[in-house]
Amino acid sequence: MEEKKLGDHIIDHLNNEKKESPELDLWLEEAEENRNTLSRYKRIWEESRTLSENKSFNAIKAWTKVDGRLQSKKIIRRRFTAAAYAVSGMAASILIILGLYLFTNIVPQTDQVVKVATAYGSRSEVELPDGTVVSLNAGSSLEYKRSDGIREVIFSGEGFFDVEKAKDPFVIQTADGYELKVLGTRFNLTAYKNDMQITAALVEGKVHISSPEKKELYLKPGQVAEYDKTNKGLKYVKSDVGRMTGWMDDKIFLDGMKVAELAQRLERRFDVVITVNLKNPGDYHFTGVLQEETIGNVMEALHYSSGLNYTIKGKNIILTD
């Protein structure tokens, strides 16, 4: 059959299968290849019809949204990086700051102390003059002198320290007088002022810890140490280092967590105020991993998993039975 004629027959057939066409039938009987060809055309014909579904989703409009979100993240990053450059005044010491709301204060040039603090709901990353990089979780602060050779910081909150190797030890003092001396290591330190414990979890290297009472401890990779502010005890605890650093991947590992601690973590992470209004708060234990991006989603998750009820009004959240 002539090629063009075949085309007419096939199109007619696709448009109306019931319409009889002896010529097409004959062509189909000729060879299996012909039948395959027709079935391929049929698939194209039918699938092309389904493409109209796409039209209800507007890619251009959606792109504006996605682009806007990505750009605003970039601008915030740039703005704070620029601010950091401005305050450091020295190209060599780069201060990279990624937090959303971040307060940088510098005590005037005389003693050159730099203080970086993160507000609730934000985080940042700081590179110190010696090359050490500290990721600060929400509600944390880090203070250091900006002169060469000195490796000493004052710290509160939670941070992940990636300490540059050097001959001199790197010293971290917490606001409570707890002291860590390290060489080149990577570890997580949780030392919020209003927490009852200070916790250090080592990922790599070696850490020496001493308490104000001169108790000492060495940490090996994978080990976690805890200092109890009430009974002044310094001891190893069974915990998973990966869980301690989960905050850097936006995860909160609950692990049998109680309401009070969870509320505090959420307050820091999302910059909210949580009021616990439960008859028996001790009855609630939370297990699992929270990975939600908004406080609304977190509350919803907790509601579904534990039956806890909540109301959100702006930054205020009330938990009820």
Partner: protein, 179 residues
């Protein structure tokens, strides 16, 4: 010359924002329609797909695609959609590694979606006139007679254009499928 999916991904890995935009345009609507079939909710389907693209851009340097790019995208979209559905009940609270096959989706569904993506790409490569006629007929669902009146061309010409389109699409798809 149209850039291949693999080239797009390689460029995106290196931070080429314009190629990211191209990938988005190429797949957004298709992925939304696909996710919509799972979630049955239009606005959540769009949210899921937008989130997916934002994640792709933010983690661009770590993208590791072993399969075809479209296979990767549809699989990722399906997983996100399933997580969303399960999330309605338990959110993402329970565990880290959620088995991905709880909700059954016909197994050849992703293959089908990949075919549609290729088909759409081939269709967009058709000569202008031919493309217009074919789209009016298949996508907008106009009858040959209606197209003839609208464009003021004969039914014979329309049939020719449609056949031309079909032949092109068939060979274009064969090339793509082999790639």
């Amino acid at each position: 010359m149209k850039v291949s999916d693999a080239t797009l991904i390689n460029g995106i890995r290196l931070g080429e924002y314009s190629l990211f935009n191209e990938l988005f345009m190429r797949y957004y609507s298709r992925l939304c329609a696909f996710v919509y079939d799972i979630t049955n909710d239009k606005s959540s389907a769009e949210d899921i797909v937008q989130e997916l693209f934002i994640r792709i851009w933010e983690r661009r340097s770590n993208i590791d695609i072993q399969e075809s790019v479209s296979g990767f995208l549809f699989r990722a979209a399906r997983n996100a959609a399933l997580n969303h559905i399960r999330g309605e009940k338990s959110r993402r609270l329970v565990q880290l590694d959620i088995p991905q096959e709880e909700v059954s989706i016909e197994p050849d569904r992703i293959e089908k979606e990949e075919f549609r993506v290729m088909l759409e790409q081939c269709m967009n490569a058709l000569p202008e006139r031919c493309q217009l006629v074919f789209k009016m007929h298949r996508i907008e669902g106009l009858k040959q007679k209606e197209i003839s009146e609208k464009l003021n061309i004969s039914i014979k010409t329309i049939k020719n254009q449609i056949w031309k389109a079909m032949k092109y699409l068939r060979s274009c798809l064969e090339v793509q499928e082999d790639a």
